[in-house]
């Protein structure tokens, strides 16, 4: 009964605000104080970056004065795929206003996400999208997947001093975000600037420390002239750096990719991982919350071309996702490149 009441209330409100939007001009300013229950669903619990995303979402939750509940629920690591599908299904049954998903289930999540949408729950993905785009309202992209490729190519270029061999140590072979970034990097490497850099291998460490560590060693055994290991995953990059440090190979092989300053600081300072990049997961959680709140309260329609204001982060526009034609995304933007000059401050 309570849910029905909420739904009608939301519908009434959305009618009112939709009218206001049309009259109000280009950027939608979200009206705070609505009562919408939302779920933030990470790949799994217990990982620092997801907790940071939650902090950002909680910040936005307080800022928007949402009188509903923001739940941070996720599966345990060994049960990620099945757990995500289950939580998605449960959220739909509970009549949650929105689910914010960092997808770890590939397209297997589609049936439950489609069912959730049919039940009136908005599905906003962040960090990692649904590959086919089905069952997803919009994807909040941390960075442009194409520009990540250029940044990785640039880091390799700077570590190699312009020429040499590089290899990629990724997460799992079917990780949607990593695969897109690697493809973007391969694209970037075709540029004139990188003509002397050769990508010799791509291996997968399954996002586990021990597998990644062994893969990194196998890479240097397989390619004696390797100069850079590029790892677009926080687990892989630190395992590779540790492996190079343990084997005393840091002068010979540089490690780079996407990493957490707090985990990488010692390797950056001792030269094993001279440069790496990452974006701010707090901002990502914050922006995702604004998007989901706007959609679930009916103040935003989720159409391509729609612009809205996301508090302290400014205006964002929904656009077509260049990597997934037919799907839409919101691009958060920049990331930070860390090196020995700024990593210590960021690791605190």
């Amino acid at each position: 009964m309570k849910n029905i009441f909420k739904l009608t209330a939301a519908a009434a409100l959305s009618l009112g605000t939709a009218g206001a939007t049309l009259a109000g001009g280009h950027s939608v300013s979200l009206t705070p104080g609505e009562d919408i229950n939302m779920v933030l669903l990470p790949k799994f619990l217990g990982i620092l970056v997801f907790d940071q995303a939650n902090e950002g979402a909680q910040e936005a939750h307080a800022e928007l004065g949402n009188t509903g509940e923001l739940l941070f629920v996720g599966p345990t690591p060994e049960n990620s795929t099945a757990g995500q599908i289950e939580i998605m299904t449960t959220s739909a049954t509970q009549g949650q206003g929105a689910v914010m998903l960092s997808n770890n289930a590939g397209d297997q999540i589609v049936p439950s996400a489609v069912a959730a949408q049919a039940a009136g729950t908005r599905v906003v993905t962040w960090d990692s999208p649904i590959p086919s785009g089905e069952g997803e309202d919009v994807f909040v992209a941390q960075v442009d997947f194409g520009s990540i490729g250029t940044v990785m190519a640039d880091m390799a270029h700077s570590i190699l001093g312009g020429s040499g061999q590089m290899a990629v140590l990724s997460a799992t072979p079917d990780a949607a975000n990593q695969n897109a970034w690697i493809a973007a990097m391969e694209d970037a490497l075709k540029g004139e600037k990188y003509s002397n850099i050769e990508l010799v291998d791509i291996v997968y460490g399954d996002d586990q420390a021990e597998v990644s560590y062994n893969r990194a060693l196998a890479l240097v055994d397989k390619h004696p002239n390797l100069g850079v290991i590029m790892s677009p995953t926080t687990v892989g990059i630190q395992a590779a750096a540790k492996a190079m440090q343990d084997e005393g190979m840091c002068g010979q092989v540089g490690v780079s990719g996407l990493g957490l300053p707090s985990e990488m600081v010692s390797y950056t300072m001792n030269g094993c991982a001279p440069e790496f990049a990452l974006w701010d997961f707090r901002d990502l959680g914050y922006l995702t919350y604004y998007t989901a709140y706007g959609l679930a309260s009916g103040q935003m329609k989720g159409e391509i071309g729609e612009t809205f204001n996301a508090g302290r982060m400014g205006d964002f526009t929904i656009e077509e996702d260049p990597g997934r034609p037919g799907s839409s995304r919101i691009l958060m933007g920049d990331f930070t490149v860390y090196n020995s000059e700024n990593v210590e401050a960021a690791s605190k």
Partner: protein, 341 residues
Amino acid sequence: MLSRIPPQTLRILALLFVLVAVLLFFSTQVPNYLNGRLFNRISSSVAIMALIACGQTLVILTRNIDLSIGSVVGFVAFATGSLITHSPDIPPLVLAAYSILLGACFGVVNGFFVAYARVPSIIVTLGTMALFRSALVEYSDAKSITTNNLPTWLVEFPNTQLFTIGTFQFRAAFVVAILVVIAVHITLSRVRPARKLYAVGSNPEAAEMSGINSKLVIFFAFVLAGALAGLAGFMFLARFGTITVVAGLGFELKSVAAAVVGGVNIFGGSGSVIGALIGTVLIDLIDMSLVRWQLVSEFWREAVLGSLILLSVAADAVLMRRLVKWRVSREKKDAKPEVQA
């Protein structure tokens, strides 16, 4: 000559034969393969799994299975890292003892439910696998243990070279693991109470009737497996330095695979920890070699690894059966049958 060798030793010989065959095969496929570096890679990489497979073997011998072992490794690695981060002055041996004890406590939980509450071990440990992992997620509060907060002695311990033979480096973690496996092996084959593990596994009713307290035996098997997993957690922390909630994920199945490839009977009662050790080495060797083999793409590697494991187990089984048959027929022919060892 062959007929005088006990079947367990034969099995080990067969495994070593497979190991050499794998080595020879890949040496024709991968450039710069057979050298000291390969030994150093494999030896440092198996040190952790050898301990876990050893613990798993103790449990399998009693007709049980421990699926929670990976979660125990992860939890212990994190808890030990957290302890040493907050009190860096703890002496090394005390820290190792803490890890072992903590692991044993998890073993007590498993052992209690399996032995005394009579719940099948696959159910109990499937439950505790998730339970211990969830406990880790809760306990960790989404923080990671990082290398720069650990004392130098701990981080340097696994790669300390104790001695070298040619280009073969014998590093501390590997030597510790080998010593533990040998100690467990000698205990299992020479010490009377430890033989009860085999008795309970091969024929529980007979064991019970001959006065063996099989509940206690099974309980202790789980506690020991927990303790070994605890030690493995300590080594995991020392080797990888950075510990998150995914530490040790999937180790339960890898340890079962290592034990089974190593000739430990999944239905209990037969097998040895030396076999499990060689099984660990074999799987690690195949896995590592496949990564370096140009012919196999990453997407097929798991499938090829699976097939090779199946093949080696099947080859081992066929070889053993042939040998037993051959031996029986020889004994029949002989006027004076030889005494089976």
